[in-house]
């Protein structure tokens, strides 16, 4: 039979799955000999049984009764004993901390009789006893009985009038208890349960139920905590911080969770319970003041903090209560901390000899590193907020509002900071996005074009600020309250919060980005391994440097960049890229070259078409020369053109309207407009994502791929040490690849350049037939964006606005599969294709490109799946390097278990 209840003496910190974080750590502290009130933990397994079956598991009641008896024996009192009652708290505690999400009930065991015993026990403190009783009814009523808390608050407020709660005397509190009992009767049709065991039993079930409260579900979804873990319940003998001025309660950190600095950090509140601190009814004092108030307890606490930090080998966060001069530990856990503190603490602990550098790497995350890379607004500045959108790409940006890509480029060229404001962005806005300090859109979600591209660039972006009406034509937007912002007016946007401010808000640059921009190889100055006199930023950069250097030493996955221009490539190098995994060539057909694409499309024969291609070739060659130079002999994977050609032409509807109006005499349209309209109609596709693109373009338009391959080969010949790799997009069958590969290798041979020829694996069919495809491919690069689209059957452009929020709400996925690689679906094919490809060609190089390459969870997947590299946008490279190391270290961890 399962064991559902563990005394604190029976557990330890490794049993978090079963006992929850709180229970496991209470047991750990108990076994360390620290002063923990006695108690026991009901396991998460019991909770899971309860949630699945709707009843407590058989035998649990008896098991609880047995442990309660032991507790009563230890304490020398019984639960609800009228003259000297044992009171207990019933506290939730899941494996992962979900602060404030679940329920806790204190003072279980009080009723109309035992309240007198409590008064006696507390030296005749009638006020304390009745206050405890009314707190029980209030908490129990709200949490266990589901009564709207406002009823109780309202009754309390009415009684208090203008007074503080401490001004209420015992008689008033006794009458409040009666009022509260009346509320329970009125709201539930039943009496408040006087039986302490029934109180406890109901409270346990209420805590279990709170696992599935809407806010808890939402929180788990956001934090990616599995929905099926359940919570444990801790039954703990009550200790009271509200027995008088020799009592109190507080929280402490073994070092500063904000900066990582060592010292005494925390808050203390005299004559109060923990819930009072949370409610903020009186101001706390700094923990240091406890030394003055209760030197004995203070010294004991500092001693315990040192014990805990050495034992946990990490920053601990602690809750404690002092009951009439006696210190009790109510909780400890490895404490949350800011990103900066995480890096500093990790290296400090190395210096103290508590952890190894390997462990230090596991103590920080890619998300934390990413946070450190974004600029921030000065916290103290005065701000005039005019709207709030989605926090699409973090950071802080200030600049003049501009409404077109051209204008953004123009002003930026004059050295002005601009914010590009659009209803939504498209690939044509790329130049403007690059030129701008930040991007603000009124439409689109977190995976809209603006958001994705901005995150890729590490550029601040607020998107979907629907309160704004953007009029690109009039070069202005209107915010609620009639605020009109015209071109040239300064705005500030916070990509971390989604806020939009009028005017300039002061910004602080990220020292970590400055460090990366200096080039990783340059390092961060001397590392001494000692705490030095230096600025906070300097210490942070040193910590980051130390961890990144170590990370690079332990990771197995290589990290490449998605970079399309020499500038991007150079930045990628500085950020540590070991090559380019995806150089898209689409932009090489944009801008003034659009004209040539139009010529190509309108070409009436081989000669005209070839002329357009011939004109493009030297331009593209120059592009490649720049990129190869920037990469200094590292591999550059060039993807031949992928999007359908009509993407380079004017929009069908716009052009149709223009021509129709012109024909009705209400506008103008050139002869070329008319010819273009015919071409656009001819090339129009119902589903361009599933249309004439990728390898199909290469097979259908003679000379197109050949032009690109020749440009690459010629460029490679010109740059000593260049290592081009030619990547064919959207292959679904090996035959497609064979046809293109043949042409490409002939051109390479003709120019006299060596290059690998490989393929994207981005159609499910390519993955499923990877064994065949590998016969013709020297490398695979998983295009997980397209693969996700085709596996799920939805396109990112179309579905996000339409139903992603609803899907998150329904729990159909906890996170967008475009953000984090979907292991069960896409991931399964990635593994299958990797294994079957390598079975055919043992030296097949396998990587991933696309947004997932810079996502921490996806990097771990790629490591586990045995890929050779991930490729991501330059700004995500440090994140990928760090997460690749963490993935490698977590292998070791499993090895040694």
């Amino acid at each position: 039979m399962a064991k559902y209840v563990y005394d604190f003496t029976e557990g330890n910190r490794n049993l978090k799955d079963l006992l929850g974080g709180k229970g496991a750590n209470l047991a750990e502290m108990t076994n360390l000999g620290l002063p923990v009130p006695p108690g026991f933990t009901i396991t998460t397994e019991a909770c899971r049984h309860y949630l699945a079956e709707g009843t407590l598991p058989a035998g649990l009641d008896e098991e609880i009764a047995r442990h309660l008896s032991a507790l009563e024996a230890t304490m020398g009192r019984t639960l609800g004993q009228t003259d000297d009652p044992l009171l207990v708290s019933v506290r939730s505690g899941a494996k992962f901390s979900m602060p404030g999400m679940m329920e806790t009930v204190l003072n279980i065991g009080l009723n109309d009789e035992s309240v007198h015993g409590l008064a006696k026990q507390s030296g005749g403190n009638e006020r304390f006893a009745w206050d405890s009783y009314r707190r029980l009814i209030q908490m129990f009523g709200k949490t266990v009985l589901g009564i709207d808390g406002d009823h109780f608050e309202h009754a309390l407020d009415e009684l208090k009038g203008d007074r503080q709660d401490t001004d209420l005397d015992a008689g008033e509190l006794q009458s409040l208890v009666e009022t509260y009992k009346g509320i329970v009767r009125e709201q539930t049709g039943k009496e408040f349960p006087a039986d302490p065991r029934e109180q406890m039993r109901l409270a346990v079930m209420a805590v279990f139920d709170s696992w599935n409260a809407p806010r808890a579900i939402l929180y788990r979804r956001q934090e990616r905590i599995p929905a099926d873990l359940g919570t444990a319940v801790n039954i703990v003998a009550m200790v009271f911080g509200n027995c008088g001025n020799d009592s109190g309660t507080g929280v402490a950190f073994t070092r500063d969770p904000g900066s990582g600095q060592q010292g005494v950090y925390g808050d203390y509140l005299q004559n109060a319970q923990g819930e009072d601190v949370v409610a903020g009814i009186r101001n706390t004092v700094p923990l240091q003041d406890l030394e003055r108030l209760d030197k004995h307890c203070y010294d004991e606490l500092l001693q315990i903090m040192e014990t805990l930090e050495n034992h946990y080998r990490d920053l601990c966060d602690i809750e404690f209560t002092i009951e009439r001069g006696k210190l009790w530990m109510l909780q400890t856990r490895v404490g949350k901390r800011t990103a900066a503190a995480a890096f500093r603490i990790a290296t400090q602990l190395v210096d103290q000899g508590l952890i190894t550098l390997d462990e230090a790497v596991t103590r920080v995350t890619g998300d934390q590193l990413a946070q450190l890379m974004f600029p921030r607004f000065d916290g103290g500045a005065v701000k005039n907020r005019i709207a709030k959108g989605m926090n699409a790409s973090p950071g802080a940006a200030v600049g003049k509002a501009v409404f077109s890509s051209e204008r953004a480029v123009e002003l930026a060229a004059r050295g002005e900071d601009v914010i590009l404001v659009r209803r939504e962005t498209n690939p044509d806005d790329l130049a403007g996005m690059i030129a701008a300090r930040g991007i603000l859109t009124s439409r689109g979600g977190k995976t809209s074009h603006a958001a994705v591209v901005a995150r890729g660039m590490g550029k601040t972006c607020v998107c979907g600020a629907e309160e704004l009406e953007v009029s690109v034509g009039e070069r202005r937007f209107t915010a609620p309250g009639g605020v009109v912002v015209s071109e040239g007016e300064v705005i500030s946007i916070d990509g971390t919060t989604g806020e939009v401010f009028l005017g300039e808000v002061p910004v602080a640059d990220s020292p970590v980005v400055e460090y990366f921009e200096r080039g990783t190889s340059a390092g961060a100055g001397e590392e001494t391994g000692e705490q030095q006199e230096a600025s906070h930023d300097d210490n942070l950069v040193k910590a980051v440097d130390r961890i990144m250097r170590h990370a690079d030493g332990v990771r197995r996955l290589r990290v490449r960049a998605n970079a399309d221009t020499p500038e991007d490539a150079a930045r990628a190098r500085r950020f540590g890229a070991e090559g380019i995994g995806l150089c898209r060539t689409e932009h090489m057909f944009l801008g003034e070259r659009r004209q040539l694409v139009e010529d190509l499309v309108l070409a009436s024969g081989d000669t005209e078409r070839q002329a357009a291609l011939d004109a493009l070739e030297p331009l593209q060659k120059a592009d490649f020369v720049g990129i190869f130079r920037a990469m200094e002999g590292r591999p550059v994977t060039v993807r031949l053109i992928d999007p359908p050609l009509h993407e380079f032409l004017p929009d069908l509807t716009d052009l149709s309207v223009k021509v129709a109006l012109a024909e009705a005499g209400s506008g103008e349209a050139s002869d070329k407009d008319r010819r273009l309209l015919a071409a656009v109609k001819r090339l129009h596709e119902q589903n361009p994502m599933l249309g004439l693109r990728g390898v199909r373009l290469g097979l259908v338009i003679p000379g197109l791929f050949a032009m690109q391959v020749r440009a690459i080969a010629q460029a490679a010949k010109e740059v000593p040490g260049a290592r081009p790799e030619i990547m064919i997009p959207l292959v679904a069958a090996v035959q497609e690849l064979e046809a293109v590969r043949e042409e490409a290798t002939a051109i390479l041979a003709e120019v006299g350049v060596d290059a690998l020829v490989g393929t994207m694996i981005e159609t499910p069919r390519a993955a499923v037939t990877a064994g065949q495809v590998a016969e013709a491919a020297q490398f695979f690069s998983f295009g997980t964006n397209d693969l996700t689209q085709m596996m799920w059957g939805f396109s990112r452009d179309d579905v996000e606005a339409a139903f992603f929020s609803r899907y998150l709400e329904l729990g159909i996925f906890g996170v967008s599969p475009f953000e984090t690689l979907d292991r069960d679906g896409v991931g399964r094919l990635v593994r299958l294709a990797t294994d079957e490809g390598r079975a055919v060609r043992s030296d097949l190089k396998v990587g991933i490109c696309g947004e997932h390459g810079g996502d921490p969870d996806s990097v771990h997947f790629c490591h586990d799946a045995g890929l050779d590299y991930v490729s991501c946008s330059p700004f995500r490279i440090p994140v990928a390097r760090l997460e690749a190391a963490r993935a490698a270290l977590s292998d070791n961890e499993s090895d040694t278990r």
Copy 2:
């Protein structure tokens, strides 16, 4: 070491893979003791080696030399022997017959010396000897040396003048030989090779090379013959049908390949070689005339034909030559026949006790059955052809040209036959397509909407007739030569050839369709097992009936129909459907109900939306009642609405133009047009195929699926014995299915109706996670159309015109994956999902719906993959029934091997 050469005495008819069809059958006849000229066969394996490596395999030359020596010994002459030469033919012969596609060279062994020996051998027939020699040079020059045949033809014509070739005398032919040798010298820079062994060796390689001649590649692609089989080569001692009037050559069939009737069928040409028959230089005589010309040979031939038919147990086609009164068999094979003959011969052979009914089923194909179901134009009629398009859906149709669906319905209602003519069709044309006798489009390929829907209906369709300019507005089309056809003028279209005729061409209805329309269970009258005096059609129908009855008894796969209306359902029943596998509900939102969809989309709140749904519910319920009644207690799988809602709204571009013109004062637009435009813009999707459709609609639009499920349940309650199965489309994750399933089962319980709830497997992710999906699905139905689109990453609508022809040309696929299920890609996932789904739910019902369900090859795949049923359009049901039986029988065949 491999054996590359087989003497005719060493082979047999089961070695077609190795010896090719011709070689295997020559060996078989040799071993039957029939008069076959001696010879040997070089294997396909040698050919494959040659094609892969570019050289003949090591040892082959020696092996050929050994077999040639044996042949010389048998014949008592040596190759090229000057006084009495052995001559041989070098004949191609692949596993599958590829008539006229590959090369043959006769008279190998002649040169300036041996030509005199041949003259002596033939009793001093100098003319014959020189004619044989010039034929060798001509054939060899063209086939082996690659000289344009016109050079030789030209020289011959010049020599002949106005005379017949038989008028040329020996001297003239001798001078022609010199001329020919001059042509060889001039064109190749070399002498015609005099060495007979070199002639033979070069001829063998030329035959091998001819495997990859463009016409052969094209033929194989059309006939779906694998490209890597290679051809065998037969070296056969020459016999001459052109030695005088006691010689000749002919072809014979053991029964009529056109009708299947028994008797003597064939042609004979006196004093000629086989090539002369092909070239048609003189008229042949009926084979019966041979009795008069050479009674002895005639009797022997009839005897041999009987032997062969009894031995092969099938219709044989035979080539023979008579050399100076001696009959020689040059070739035999199981003969090609028409579809009607196939059925009649199969049942006749059963009656003769030569084959079993099981074998009879394997002797006919679904394609042949389908051919029998289409109406045909009277072959003898005078026709005025005005254009040719693609033969999209076979049959013959005559009617008045109409240019809109409404007009088609209107005229058809008056009892008139119409042909719907459109540039291309869309789902709105459905009513018109149903009403029309045939469909003609000027755009779109074989998998365009018109083609697919027409094939599904068994309706004649010619599509992509690009010569036609269709003006829907002016209700007319223009054909080349200025022919203008206006509404109401009669045209005839032949869906089997793609031809379009002006005026009425007489049509013959298919007796087989009439038979099926009577209902399979009704049978085709008494079966006697004997050849009766009855019309050709009656005999055909009896044969079909007998084979179909037997097929239904042996097949394991069930066959269901894709049917959306009571009429379709009733026809499906008559054609033998065992249920409906796919009842699409899209059409239940079309027609006058479009108005309600617009209300639904424009609804400003829950109440308006629900009102629109409430109005739809009774209408859809009535639809379901009709369908359930028609199916008389058989299962009906209803797919909830799948397409995006904007498909039911006006087109974005059209509406934009309309509103823009109205605003410019050049047209009119209503207020509703403006509101609709806003809605259409809001709902506009870049890639509707990957947009808000299927299960997503159900999850995002409250009440939509519920309305449909309630309509189904209410209808089922009203029709005793109704067996609805509710199918959720486009599921990608089990969570989606769970959410919808929960709502559906609640409604079913509320109404009190039992129904299975299952899902389409049409996203690759659903297939890959089938184990999860099966937890919530009671059945799977593979939607292989969408699955193909998403696996390959191309949409049928967009890609066919753009690149399918190019892909077929490049050999990237031999047949469209939308036509025949792609086994390596889509098929692999179908197997995986079936296996993993059943592992979780052992009674999971698994079927396939969509175009592939009626495709013979795909039906075999479904049988092999262990599916429970296929579902296809009513017209394809007999095909699927037959092919399911053939698949089951081919299992047995493998079992007994």
